[in-house]
Symmetry: C2
Subunit: 360 residues, 2 copies
Amino acid sequence: MSGKVKMVTMRDVAQASGFSPATVSIVLNNAPLARYIAPATKKRIEDAARKLGYRPNAMARFLRSRRSQTVGVMIFDITDPFCTPVLRGIENALYQSSYVPIFADAHNQRSRFERYLEMLLEHHVEALIVVANWLFVDIQLLADLSKRNITAATIGWEVPGDSVSSVMVDNEAGGRLALEHLYHLGHRKIAVIRGPKMLIDSGPRWKGVQKFAHSVGLELDPSLVAQLPDELEANSGFEGGYRFTEELLERKKRFTAVLAFDDLTALGAIRALTKAGIKVPEQCSVVGFDDVPLSALAAPSLTTVRQPLEAMGNLAVNTVVEGIKAGLEKRDWSISRHKMTPELVIRDSTKAVPTAVTTD
Amino acid sequence: MSGKVKMVTMRDVAQASGFSPATVSIVLNNAPLARYIAPATKKRIEDAARKLGYRPNAMARFLRSRRSQTVGVMIFDITDPFCTPVLRGIENALYQSSYVPIFADAHNQRSRFERYLEMLLEHHVEALIVVANWLFVDIQLLADLSKRNITAATIGWEVPGDSVSSVMVDNEAGGRLALEHLYHLGHRKIAVIRGPKMLIDSGPRWKGVQKFAHSVGLELDPSLVAQLPDELEANSGFEGGYRFTEELLERKKRFTAVLAFDDLTALGAIRALTKAGIKVPEQCSVVGFDDVPLSALAAPSLTTVRQPLEAMGNLAVNTVVEGIKAGLEKRDWSISRHKMTPELVIRDSTKAVPTAVTTD
DNA sequence: TATCTGACTTGAAACGATTCAAATATCCGG
DNA sequence: CCGGATATTTGAATCGTTTCAAGTCAGATA
């Protein structure tokens, strides 16, 4: 049970190879000084290390070198399908750079976010990546991080000031894309489900929609436009889409398409339509936003505006890694704000020239 | 930009409070010796710590005390919807115990798994939790971990030997539940899509199905039984379910229900059926397994055998935390193998007394 | 007054690596 | 055979905590 193996330390390797710990350190890390070390020495040390199964002690190393090889990854709610691909992107990029992610899930609670932040600081993460939605990224984070100069990047959210980088989609372009698609399919009576006010994405998406409408002289009937409430539940979008669509149907409104704030909302809308006996896409088209993994699997599969989620995770990592490097080399460095371009993915939930929906 | 704040160390707190670092350490950790410290002293130290914003340095602490407050969480593929709820459960339980998870995603690749294992060991995780599927949990892991006495637990997989705890569902009971449900709804011609041979779950589930069939004298037509190929892709189940169902339909087989290996497979089957113009559940019922998050959102929502995924994550954590404690107190301790009981969740993809499927 | 008791506190040695300034060994031309 | 460059290697300090054995000190005891 307790075969407790004594840890192999650098000292052991030094002893075994006949050199000093200093030399061993230099060789094994390929430090600058390694230029001066005789090849034969290097070989003997490396062999010894291998033979003993030496593994550097990350903590000891950190204590001296101030590098934890660790990055905090704070996610607002892993239960939200939006987060999975982003996490994948983050993880993958960190792996490439030999960083290890410390995973923190805020469960959409501020208190939890704060507690985790504290824990991450104690563990001396070299950087922080936050997959954020509203409410919990603020001043405190700013102050704490940039003072302790830990570079940080947010995904899906921007913080004011110039201390945190961010990666977002171009929401306005996305909104435009969605409406454009419906418009070109011949839809004119379009119901729009706007996002919650608190979400930073809601505004620009709606703006993109309006701008396009205006540019082609399309009028959006205000009574066909709804706004999701500010909700914290992960799947609240589904509920919201369902309810609003149901309501619309009850009010006997006519429309041939629904432009939903995001995929979950769209799925909710589809559910309501289907339940009411309206075929999607034959009688009513539905577009989503995000291209969350389940959208391809849904029935009908969802036409949507795709955010390059995995790439966004990647980019955020590369950004902070740059920041870390800059800090190490005492270079100057300034944050960046990326806007990724969205892409329309046409699947089975939209269709041209529908027959009109008649609910009476 | 670089307001580089000097880190507040214990020494600083000592200075500020007028006591020695030793005392500060004792007070702040509420170590055994704290019994002897005067209340007034405690207060002054605590106040000073608070005022200075002292945060212990996890690395330094570890170096001395051998505790990293860190647990490795290795996931075979975060892209698989099965993993998300499990991860949530793990994260939540770790948080309760003030451990921080280091997240590692093997992407279903053995090499990646090994490299991550290496990294986790370097970071001296106190325990390891593996959300596993076949192939990458083996001898090496065993040897390395139990020798370095790091407790480990696997979820969804068992390793031979007595050094790794595990948490699984009772697959046999689950298989039984699924068939029982269909049988009670009156189905007799049932197509079964078995899981890949490599997966540990496949056997028992099929066994449960067979046992139930036998117990009620139901014959399972072998030509209605298929087996998914051994695939690594995350969504291969969907593909597999789709293809097999399509094939069945082409071969003009008659059946009124499909019992799928897991939810994704079931969704694939539904897609194929729908595409062929067969209504689910009116003309054909479909049961899944797992109750992955998207199953509730699918259209139609999926009847399935639920694994208590979040609870499984929790349990795995509690198990290893016990192991850690035991190790600390040099108590004896032996691994455990949990089998959680599955639960039937009835939704919209199954229905009683269907009209026969006629494909010609 | 000298010694002994607690009741509190602390000095100093780890923990395992990194990092320079400095030591040592080697070799060369003069 | 020496002074000095050149090529390698290393001693010793340091990072921030934890942990005991050992210290201090006021008052009690003899």
